[in-house]
């Protein structure tokens, strides 16, 4: 065990060959006062014969600034140089230990064990290795204490320049340290050159120095990284550099991108800045390589000998991501980073997560191979116009346009589209993948809050995501509602969590509001589920704060979609699309009925609250979904509630304890999971088969001028996005040759819409117009596209003279309007809504505030362990 150095020992002279003369070189600077170091030097048992201060004049007036000046200033009898930082306090035997071991091991450089000088005996460095890209690997965990666990003299890749002893001839031969490099990179560079020159680098743990603050904490990250790049460029042969440099750049880039997932932008910027700095250093690199070539004694293999495989940077980031991932599910804390990383992969959640990931990959395979299906509201996002239409105050470009603000999902789609290089399929696919991940993790957290374990979380996640209720929603092509299903459990989890105090309370509210807001961005009506969940939880768990938190989260969530709240039309949204129904209803009823009976009878009392919550959510959701007259949007909300209830119910089934009952419970779970198996096998996560990908391309290639407007007619539910219904068929217009998400939401009929309806009535249906194209041309309609299967009498179109059939698609009946002339493209949209635009800014600011507050209020170490999160059982409180 180390302790603070003392100055009681008397110095002794050391000038014989067995006790070579040592010069102490103190690295000081304007902000470093070397007084403490000088005092500690005076207390050294092995006293330096000469003391030099670099960067500051010493008491004798000696002032040196570079390695060359140091070498020049050394007394003739000096054979060893002790390089030591000016903010260190070496133990009295530190130099003696270095000299002794350097001579004994015949090393060229010997480094001390460096501890942080804060009284905690935390280790900063005991030598270290690097990877092939120059990233250091100390083998230490953050805050690792010195328990003498590394106290063995050994050869290492590099030692810290905080305290190292180097032979004078080596220092002179190598030209000393590179002044351009920050401390850690400088020592790495120097040690590598020493080893390439044939010298050994050893660490001497018995030589302890206390360092005021780690160099890495004070140096600029990008400059350290750049310094390591330069060290690599100087040391390696050209052959090695040929693959190390590009791979290193890729590793840096990959790490920077991965760090984005940890909400860190700086690593990516540092990587970029480091390479810019490295490029600037190329002339000095060339000079350094030339110097090194003259004294190089060994090949790159000598460097490889002490290097760790792979990339330490990527491994570190991956470990942190793994830890975060598991923490998101378990919220357990392990000890060290290394321990956490190891433990993460030993937990059941890790294995289940891998299974989930594989299932997600299989379940989304057709999306990766063929792109997301374009069907219903699962439409590719488009550019800035979608963001403007949803958060910029409109107008809505769908149909003939309107002033009504479009739902916020359009804006989210546009953001994804713009961020991902205007690749609509990638944007949709990643949004869907993110939703799936959020849903699985969110449900795992939610059931954890309700006292269930990892396996239950896994099962519940899939019962939620692939169960009959949510599949019923997604099978109608209601992609936005599916996206809302991702963050929804997170909002509910925050709402049903135990009461928190102070900062955490505010943070939780912000988290709940954020999650509710993101869910509302997907499908605004789901906010009802958040409020309902809080209310139900308040009743069944006797935690009345949950009701308030649910309402507050709903309010905050609605503020994140404020433009739509102020300028949108919720009724239109509720009425849009097909009525969803529970898939395999009999099976679902069987699973829910059997499952409820089992958990109601056999579960422990502590689970009754979550069973009640699940039962009430299932019941309410199912009743709503079965109501014959409710709008499709309300039924969708009901099914989402039912899906949540079913997932929590399945978690309770998994947690059943009696073996025989578990067997029957497993059967009920299997019944509830059955649709998920079908969903995964299907490969589209429950979405219907693609209907519209590239189907309207002919509009772009065959139109007389710019891509024009197409009138689509088909069976109810067959058209992309919202549609208007007329006598057994749907119809709508699509502009530009692609049905995009921006065009998905039709507003209430305006004047042109009403006129088009009249024209369809009079000229296509009722009147048998010989020239219906002339009537349609007034609306800028050059194309008439009929999806077979509707009540629309297509034979009417066989008896007209200005809609020419075009065989452009085997499954669509397409007519080109011969009466269309370019330029007739009327719209009825007006100006953007200023109020909604201002509200858009407000929502954006609120989003930033909520994110900041959520992070600020997040203190994971203070989270209670899961057992404390178990809700109070219903029935016990009143007994």
């Amino acid at each position: 065990m180390s302790s603070s150095p003392t100055s009681s020992a008397a110095p002794s002279s050391a000038t014989s060959p067995a006790t070579p003369a040592v010069a102490a070189v103190i690295l000081a600077g304007p902000s470093i006062d070397p007084a403490g170091t000088l005092q500690a030097l005076r207390a050294q048992v092995y006293a330096p014969a000469q003391t030099l201060i670099v960067g500051r004049a010493d008491a004798q007036g000696a002032a040196v600034r570079s390695s060359a000046e140091v070498i020049a200033a050394l007394a003739p009898d000096i054979s060893l140089v002790w390089w030591i930082h000016g903010d260190t306090r070496p133990r009295p035997d530190a130099l003696g230990g270095l000299v002794r071991e350097l001579i004994r091991t015949d090393a060229a450089v010997a480094g001390s064990k460096v501890l942080i000088d804060d009284g905690t005996d935390r280790l900063e460095s005991v030598g270290g290795a690097t990877d092939v890209y120059g990233d250091v690997y100390t083998g230490l965990d953050p805050d690792e204490l010195d328990l003498e666990q590394y106290d063995v003299v050994r050869e290492v890749s590099y030692v810290s320049a905080v305290s190292l002893l180097v032979r004078r001839d080596v220092l002179r031969g190598l030209g000393g340290f590179d002044r351009a490099l920050p401390p850690q990179a400088a020592s790495l560079d120097f040690c590598q050159r020493v080893r390439l020159a044939g010298g050994k680098v050893v660490v001497v743990p018995s030589s302890e120095v206390f360092h005021h603050s780690p160099c890495a904490a004070t140096a600029l990250a990008w400059k350290e990284q750049g310094g390591r790049n330069k060290a690599m460029l100087v040391a390696y042969s050209l052959l090695t550099l040929a693959w190390v440099v590009p791979m290193g750049a890729l590793v840096g880039l990959a790490d920077g991108l991965a760090q984005l997932a940890l909400a860190r932008v700086r690593p990516l910027l540092s990587t970029l800045a480091s390479w810019v700095w490295t490029l600037v250093q190329v002339p000095s690199v060339i000079a350094a390589r030339n110097r090194l070539r003259r004294i190089r004694a060994v090949s790159d293999e000598e460097l490889f000998r002490f290097q760790v495989s792979g990339s330490t940077r990527l491994r570190r980031t991956f470990s942190e991501l793994s830890e975060r991932f598991n923490a998101a599910i378990d919220e357990n804390e392990a000890g060290s980073l290394a321990d956490r990383a190891k433990l993460a992969w030993r937990r059941p959640s890790a294995g289940l997560s891998i299974i989930s990931a594989i299932a997600v990959l299989i379940g989304t395979r057709s999306i990766w191979f063929s792109g997301p299906p374009e069907v219903g509201f699962a439409l590719p996002p488009s550019g800035l116009s979608g963001l403007v239409a949803s958060y910029g105050g409109g107008p809505n470009p769908a149909g003939f346009g309107s002033d009504v603000v479009v739902p916020p999902i359009v804006g989210l789609g546009s953001v994804a589209y713009l961020l991902l290089g205007q690749r609509p399929n990638l944007g949709s696919a990643l949004l869907l993948l993110g939703t799936i991940a959020l849903a699985l993790l969110g449900i795992a957290r939610l059931v954890r809050r309700m006292g269930a374990g990892s396996l239950a979380g896994f099962v519940a996640g899939w019962v939620y995501l692939g169960g009959a209720a949510l599949v019923g929603v997604s099978s109608t092509g209601n992609w936005p509602a599916l996206l809302a299903a991702g963050p929804l459990p997170w909002a509910i989890e925050a709402v049903v969590a135990p009461a928190a105090e102070g900062r955490r309370r505010v943070g939780r509210l912000a988290s709940a509001g954020l999650a509710a807001g993101f869910a509302a961005v997907g499908y605004p009506p789901v906010l009802v589920v958040v409020a309902l969940s809080g209310l139900v939880w308040a009743l069944v768990a006797r935690r009345f704060g949950a009701a308030g938190l649910g309402l507050a989260a709903t309010a905050l969530g609605s503020l994140l979609i404020l433009p739509y709240v102020l300028g949108g039309d919720l009724n239109d949204l509720l009425q849009a699309g097909l009525h969803p129904t529970i898939a395999n209803e009999w099976l679902w009823l069987l699973g829910i009925g059997l499952g409820t009976a089992l958990v109601a009878v056999f579960s422990s009392r502590t689970r009754l609250a979550s069973i009640w919550w699940a039962g009430l959510m299932v019941s309410a959701g199912f009743l709503v979904s079965q109501s014959p007259t409710l709008a499709p949007g309300i039924v969708t909300v009901g099914l989402l509630a039912a899906a949540l209830g079913a997932s929590v119910l399945s978690a309770n089934l998994v947690e059943l304890e009696m073996p025989r009952v578990r067997l029957i419970g497993g059967l009920a779970v299997a019944v509830l999971l059955f649709p998920a198996v079908l969903t995964v096998a299907q490969g589209r996560m429950g979405l219907p088969p693609d209907q519209w990908t590239d189907r309207l391309d002919f509009v772009r290639t065959l139109s007389t001028g710019d891509p024009t407007r197409a009138l689509l007619i088909g069976p109810p539910g067959s058209l992309p996005g919202a549609a208007r219904n007329l006598s057994g068929f749907d119809y709508r217009t699509v502009h530009g040759g692609q049905a995009t998400l921006t065009q998905a939401y039709l507003a209430k009929p305006g004047a042109l819409d009403l006129e088009l309806r009249r024209v369809i009535d009079d000229h296509l249906l009722a009147g048998v117009d010989l020239r219906p194209g002339a009537a349609l041309a007034r609306f800028g309609i050059e194309w008439l596209v009929i999806v077979p299967g509707s009540e629309f009498p297509t034979e009417i179109l066989e008896r007209q003279v200005d809609l020419a059939a075009r065989p452009v698609d085997t499954d669509l009946v397409v007519y080109q309007n011969l009466a269309y002339s370019a330029g007739s493209d009327p719209t009825q949209q007006g100006s953007a809504s200023e109020i909604a635009r201002s509200a858009g800014w407000g929502s954006g600011i609120l989003l930033a505030v909520l994110v900041a507050v959520a992070f600020w209020g997040r203190n994971r170490r203070q989270l209670p362990v899961p057992v404390e999160l178990t809700p109070e059982p219903v029935g016990v409180a009143s007994e």
Partner: protein, 427 residues
């Protein structure tokens, strides 16, 4: 709440919700009235319009109400020629102004206004022929009264004025029974074009030839033209279960044709209409699908006309054979009180005539009005076909009767050649 009550309670709630939800009535399925094509299309097509090679055809359009319309040639580039009629008015259009040679079906559109009737009158020297104009129909139609025996030529015309390609099947019947050559079994008629099918070579040697035209894709308007000792033309005939057949003065000899347009066997009955309105069954029989029978008018022996009834849709036409004339005329599927007469030519040496069949048992009167001219009142004895030469002078007219009648119009040339076509019943 006790533990047991809590457990029982949630079970009760969920089961009740599941049962109630399951028993809730399913959403009512939207009841959609089947959309049908209205029966008054705003156009007719004159398929058998010929121009050039000695032919001079005119299309006459008549209406009883104010109407704006347009005329254009099928497959002929150029904008349609618009016309405006004020009511009791007509419009005459020279086919030769669109095309100098060949069959040029004419599309007559009604842009606004009421019912219009249109007919085409073709002249070749001293010979005349008339044919009606009609809209497309999805039902099978018949082309009757053709012959390809020595000295006779017949041509089928399939006009597709629409923007969609059509596919048709032709099933022939002749004195030899079912009679269709392979190349006629399926024919394609491109959009906005006309297909003419001369039968003289592919089906030579038939004295009694008729076809059923089925349109599988799109729509066509069919017609036929026959030439030989004289000329004749006819529009296609849509099936009906009752037909009125006149017997004009020149029609005592020839054949009455009954053609089965149903997909099943059709039983028909032929009643002779005699003076005083007495009808008697003179013939009955059964026809397999697409088959036809030619019945000799001389053998049937009626003096006023015939009424054909059938239990399935059949087509009926008459080939009247005089000394120098062969008149092919469709029968009338209806008897009503008002008829438009779209006769369009006032060529020299050509008389225009109207024939009115009164199939009733009571005598009635009819008024024949020439648009822009005088009216003639005609008495129609029961059970007779009454013919009148009426100088329409290319202006068309209208016939109104005090009882239901069947009206036909035509032309009689100085040479004795005649034509006869069903007039347009006004609804």
């Amino acid at each position: 709440m006790s533990d047991r009550a809590a457990r029982f309670g949630i079970l009760l709630v969920v089961v009740a919700a599941l049962v109630v939800g399951f028993l809730l009535p399913a959403p009512p399925e939207e009841v959609v009235d089947p959309l049908t094509i209205p029966g008054d299309p705003p156009y007719v097509v004159c398929a058998a319009a010929l121009a050039g090679s000695g032919f001079a055809s005119t299309v006459g359009v008549v209406t009883a109400s104010s109407t704006i319309g347009a005329v254009s040639g099928v497959g002929v580039d150029g904008p349609p020629e618009e016309f405006q009629l004020e009511g009791d008015d007509n419009f005459v259009f020279e086919v030769g102004s669109l095309a100098e040679l060949g069959v040029t079906p004419i599309l007559v559109e009604r842009l606004t206004g009421g019912q219009v009737g249109a007919g085409v009158l073709g002249l070749a020297g001293t010979q005349a022929t008339t044919a009606g104009c009609q809209p497309a129909t999805s039902a099978p139609v018949a082309l009757l009264g053709m012959a390809t025996s020595e000295g006779e030529q017949s041509t089928i015309v399939l006009a597709n004025p629409f923007a969609v390609e059509a596919t048709a099947r032709l099933v022939g019947a002749s004195e030899f029974g079912p009679d269709t050559v392979t190349e006629l079994e399926t024919v394609r008629v491109p959009a906005n074009s006309t297909l003419t099918l001369p039968l003289s070579q592919s089906m030579a040697g038939r004295q009694q030839l008729g076809f059923t035209v089925y349109t599988d894709v799109g729509a066509v308007v069919a017609g036929m033209a026959r030439s030989g000792p004289d000329i004749a033309s006819s529009e296609a005939i849509t099936g009906a279960q009752q037909w009125f057949v006149p017997l004009p003065a020149f029609g005592v000899s020839g054949h009455l044709i009954v053609h089965n347009l149903a997909a099943v066997d059709a039983n028909y009955r032929l009643d002779a209409v005699n003076p005083d309105g007495v009808t008697e069954e003179v013939e009955n029989g059964a026809l397999v699908p697409d088959a036809e029978i030619w019945l000799s008018l001389e053998d049937l022996g009626a003096s006023g006309g015939y009424v054909v009834t059938a239990d399935e849709p059949v087509a009926v036409a008459v080939v009247y054979t005089g000394d120098v004339t062969r008149v092919v005329s469709t029968a009338s599927p209806a008897s009503t009180v008002a008829w438009l007469v779209p006769i369009s030519s006032d060529a020299a040496g050509l008389d225009t005539a109207v024939w009115i069949l009164n199939p009733d048992e009571a005598a009635i009167t009819a008024e024949i009005a020439v648009f822009g001219g005088r009216s003639v009142e005609v008495s129609l004895p029961a059970g007779t076909t009454t013919g009148r030469i009426v100088p329409f002078r290319g202006r068309g007219g209208m016939v109104t009767a005090t009882g239901p009648v069947a009206v036909f119009y035509g032309a009689i040339s100085d040479g004795g050649a005649a034509s006869m076509t069903l007039a347009f019943p006004l609804e």
